[in-house]
């Protein structure tokens, strides 16, 4: 159903966008969205995001390792294997968040 009105909408959307940008109406939302993607924002927000991303990856990794240990009765080994992997996944999360966009 989205295909049907897809034919007429883009041209109208394009014209509307051109008209809006000529009037200078579109500039503020576009800028605020790029601010959101970039690591800008308040320092408190950045710290919150970094902390949440790192810790959540670690929590998931510990949960997986502990669960697998319980299943295979290898208690400390798999948890110990998954904790560094979780840390790496957290750093990967951060890289995806703050990597310079080309």
């Amino acid at each position: 159903m989205s295909q049907d009105n897809g034919g007429s909408d883009p041209s109208f959307g394009d014209r509307l966008k051109a008209a809006r940008s000529k009037q200078g109406l579109d500039a503020p939302p576009a800028q605020s969205l790029s601010d959101k993607d970039a690591p800008g924002g308040s320092p408190w927000g950045i710290g919150m995001r970094v902390g949440v991303e790192l810790v959540s990856a670690l929590v998931v990794a510990v949960a997986i390792g502990y669960g697998l240990d319980r299943i295979f009765h290898t208690t400390p080994i798999l948890t110990a294997v998954f904790v560094p992997l979780g840390g790496a996944a957290g750093v990967a999360n951060l890289w995806r968040l703050f990597a310079p966009k080309s």
């Binding site: 897809g6 969205l33 998931v60 992997l85 995806r96």
Partner: protein
């Protein structure tokens, strides 16, 4: 309720659930949290229904609010997900306004913030997570699993990186839910603590009036800050949902 003893602050008591709507609500375990969810849903529907009723060319205040909300979320979907974003607009719109109204209603006295419970935010996050996975599988079939294999890496590293990518993918559940929950809970705990300071210092007599006034001023500032956090966190939740949908639709 804040300071029963003279030196105890019950900062977490505000998050306890109580049955609402009398004995009927009690028998089906309908809590004040559920009541706020129903209220938030009703207010959103009311805003859209009453606001869009005039269908005026030059919108009034309510119609402008409804149209602004529609256009903001629509442009967010289209810019973040791409042209396919139109299909996911209803989901993102519903999530954004449900969370926004939940956060904002919690700022009013005697009201309850249902987004301050991890169970609620976790349920919302699981909905998004399962939906994103299903969308990815439906769009790409089994090819979707190549999402977990970053492009251009040496094959020797593949087993390690696949595990890391899977953990990173699963960690979205935790990060998305904890971010919203922690922000809302932290704000309300701070309000409660400084509110208790006002009562305690005010009880000290003449000496306590000035610090109590300071705490009251700080609480006023915190309410404003809480309004900012409420809007921002609803926006962040919606934007991250869009980004995850973009990943599912486009693979990278």
């Amino acid at each position: 309720m804040a300071a029963e003893g003279s030196n105890s602050i019950d900062a977490l008591g505000q998050f306890q659930l109580h049955p609402a709507l009398g004995p009927i609500g009690g028998s089906v375990n309908f809590t004040q949290s559920n009541l706020m969810m129903v209220l938030a849903g009703g207010l959103i529907l009311g805003l859209l229904w009453v606001g869009m009723k005039p269908r005026a060319m030059v919108p009034g205040r309510l119609q402008a609010a409804a149209e602004l909300g529609y256009e903001t979320i629509m442009s967010m979907c289209l810019e973040t997900i791409g042209p396919e974003g139109r299909r996911y607009f209803p989901l993102v719109f519903t999530l954004f306004f449900f969370i926004l109204f939940g956060n904002l209603l919690g700022v009013f006295p005697y009201f309850f913030t249902f987004t301050s419970h991890i169970m609620v935010t976790l349920a919302l996050t699981l909905l998004v997570f399962v939906l994103v996975t299903v969308v990815g599988l439906r769009e790409h079939g089994l090819h979707w699993f190549s999402y977990f294999l970053p492009q251009g890496i040496p094959m020797a590293l593949a087993p390690l990186l696949v595990v890391i990518e899977v953990i990173s993918y699963l960690s979205r559940i935790i990060s998305l839910s904890v971010r919203l929950f922690a922000n809302m809970m932290a704000g309300h705990v701070m309000l409660e603590v400084f509110g208790a300071f006002i009562v305690m210092l005010g009880g000290l007599g003449l000496l306590g009036y000035l610090p109590a006034a300071l705490a009251l001023g700080l609480n006023t500032v915190l309410i404003g800050f809480e309004l900012l956090v409420a809007t921002l966190q609803a926006y962040v939740f919606a934007v991250l949902t869009c980004i995850y949908l973009h990943d599912a639709v486009h693979l990278h």
